[in-house]
Amino acid sequence: GRGQHSAPSGSERSVVGCNSIIAMWYLLLLAGLAAASAPAPEPSFKERRLQYIVTNQNLHVDKLFDDIKSLEKKFSKLGGDVDLKKVRHIKARVSNLEGDGCEGEHEAQCGGDVPECISDLFFCDGHKDCKNGGDEDPDTCSEAIAHVGSSYTGLASWSSCEQHQPHHAVVVITSSHREDDFQPRILVKGVLTLEVDEESHIVKTTQLSGYYNFGQRELVLDPFGEKTTGNYGVRCEFNLGDDDHADCEIVIPSSLHVCAHFNAERH
């Protein structure tokens, strides 16, 4: 009885199954027709799988790229490298404090690893006097400081001589000349301008003449000529390791008494 009973139910089930399979085939057929009607043929499963992998790998690379970017951002927030100019200035200031160890007033340091002092009259004369040749080094013998048109500006603060509030002082090189048979100096002419009062445009100018000394890296200018309104000289020491910054003093020419001081920068 059980077997008989179970047989028809089985055939019934298979009939239902058959029906659903047929419907699926129809659907597939329809889909196939639809696909056939589209211009491009459907890529094969293998191709799509390959495409899938390629896409995934690209996404992976993109993610790595983003990670690197955020790492780089983090790294850049750790601060940058030190400005080379700053390093040069600090080194120069330290060596200024150390002193050059040269005894004579007119001696200067050869530089380099082994200290050696020679007269500043031997610098940049075309003949090597330092054992390391430091006195003919192209940096040491740069004429840029005394180039015509160079101007050095700074805020002058007076400690004596004049009752001025701090104001701008400008030294402009107007002519420079180097004798062929006396190379260790450049003869220089210039103008010192004191912008005493910006509001009322009171400007005092002094005609200057003097020289640039390679060994001491010093620009020494005295007043000259009759049409001067002031009678101050200027001494600038280019002691910050480049040709663009100097430590300048406005002095009384005869006694070299310091009246004012300014940190000059090339403009």
């Binding site: 007076w158 004596s160 001589c161 004049e162 009752q163 509030q165 009171i202």
Partner: protein, 168 residues
């Protein structure tokens, strides 16, 4: 020596852009020497007694002045009223000296003092001249270092600026 004096006099005339002949160095000297008086905490005592002496001396030399200081009770110079006034005057002097480094500010402060003295009828230019003389005899007594040239050149300007708005 005469040549040096002539040179100094012409230097003062040439320096016309500063309001009076009192150079940067003069100002430094005056400030430094004035500073030596005020190292103690009881500086007000010193100021009061110095100011009192100054005013009483002026009143002695020019008796008319007594009338002008009646309001601050000059009849009773040890009293609080006159002591406070002596302090005021010495403080004004102190301010003027400490402003020597800043000419525009000094100018404004002295101008203000000139206004205040203009309001007092009876105050005359000769009184200030006398005060200058008294100061220059008194200061060397209290200052170990006293550069008369510097003090005179600076105080001439200060006092004449304060007296500049007076009629007589």
């Amino acid at each position: 020596m005469l040549r040096v004096l002539v040179l100094l006099a012409t230097a003062c005339l040439v320096a016309s852009d500063s309001q009076f002949c009192c150079s940067a160095e003069d100002r430094h000297i005056v400030e430094e020497q004035w500073d030596t008086l005020w190292h103690d905490t009881e500086s007000s005592k010193l100021k009061i007694s110095f100011g009192r002496l100054l005013l009483l001396k002026l009143a002695k030399e020019i008796p008319d002045v007594n009338e002008l200081f009646k309001e601050v009770d000059i009849a009773n110079p040890e009293g609080g009223k006159f002591s406070a006034h002596a302090m005021r005057i010495l403080n004004a002097l102190d301010m003027a000296i400490n402003l020597l480094e800043d000419p525009p500010a000094l100018d404004a402060a002295l101008d203000h003092l000139a206004d205040q003295h203009q309001k007092r009828p009876g105050v005359k230019k000769e009184h200030f001249k006398k005060i200058g003389e008294i100061l220059h005899t008194a200061l060397p007594h209290v200052l170990d270092d006293y550069n008369a040239m510097s003090w005179k050149s600076c105080f001439k300007g200060i006092l004449s600026k304060i007296a500049s708005k007076l009629n007589a």
